[in-house]
Symmetry: C2
Subunit: 153 residues, 2 copies
């Protein structure tokens, strides 16, 4: 079955090419700007009380789908795509959790961003630990367990 | 701009109707089964070391889009859709963070599930606190701040 999704806004960042972008917002020190198209602005009501949002976006520059990839974090050991956040996924949807700096009109300013400039936005959801986690202290991260920070390039 | 996404599997749960489903996995006490279609099975490699996954799925029974909704948690105070996890979103993509029980072949068994039976799966991503959070202790949840558990029905 196939479904159609639509762009509801645009993410702006200082990163113009994949090689420049940090692999996750956690490793970014650059702020970003999320423009929600004016026709969806009303949906931002009440978001200002939240500190973190989950952004869903479309990996518009991703190449062909691959089920096995070689991650930056461990390039000599190929991994299944669903055990990574890579962009060559069967559905090219990316996810970043970002901290809100401020919201002005239909623009959300976030403290750190990891996505490419001009990335199409497809959804914004509030991060709510009460909804999302039980046993947060027991989270295990498999092959990423001994990775503490972004490898130097 | 529009994009096409495809079903890559199916989520099975005990919930046949919206009225039966818990509003988030955090409030569920029922296990679920995630079938990844055989052609995508290879992508599950290395996922078994992770304890939690982020499921993205298509709200196949969601009705027409609404930018302002009345949430279960506070029905007398309408909220912007992006400040909620409701299904009547501009793009009907749902997100649940689930704890893995076991993975057998192309089936992931999760301890708790909140989605409707037969929901189309569109992506699986590992939950990696190192990637996703900085300042986790500072997360603020706006209008949900004083909500501690699911309201009684």
């Amino acid at each position: 079955m196939h479904f159609e999704i639509k762009q509801i806004g645009t993410i702006y960042s200082p990163f113009k090419k994949m090689e420049e972008a940090p692999i996750q917002p956690r490793f970014s020190d650059k702020p970003g700007k999320i423009e929600v198209f004016p026709e969806y602005k009303e949906g931002l009501k009440d978001l200002e009380g939240f500190s973190h949002i989950i952004l869903l976006y479309y990996f518009h520059l991703a190449k062909e789908e691959q089920l096995i990839i070689r991650p930056f974090m461990e390039p000599d050991k190929p991994k299944g795509i669903f055990a990574t956040r890579y962009n060559k996924r069967p559905n090219k949807i990316g996810l970043s959790i970002c901290e809100i700096d401020k919201i002005e009109n239909n623009i959300i300013y976030v403290k750190y961003i990891d996505v490419l400039d001009q990335t199409p936005l497809i959804d914004i959801k509030p991060l709510v630990p009460l909804f999302d986690f039980r046993n947060i202290e027991k989270i295990k991260v498999g092959w990423l367990s001994n990775k503490k920070e972004r490898p130097k390039q």
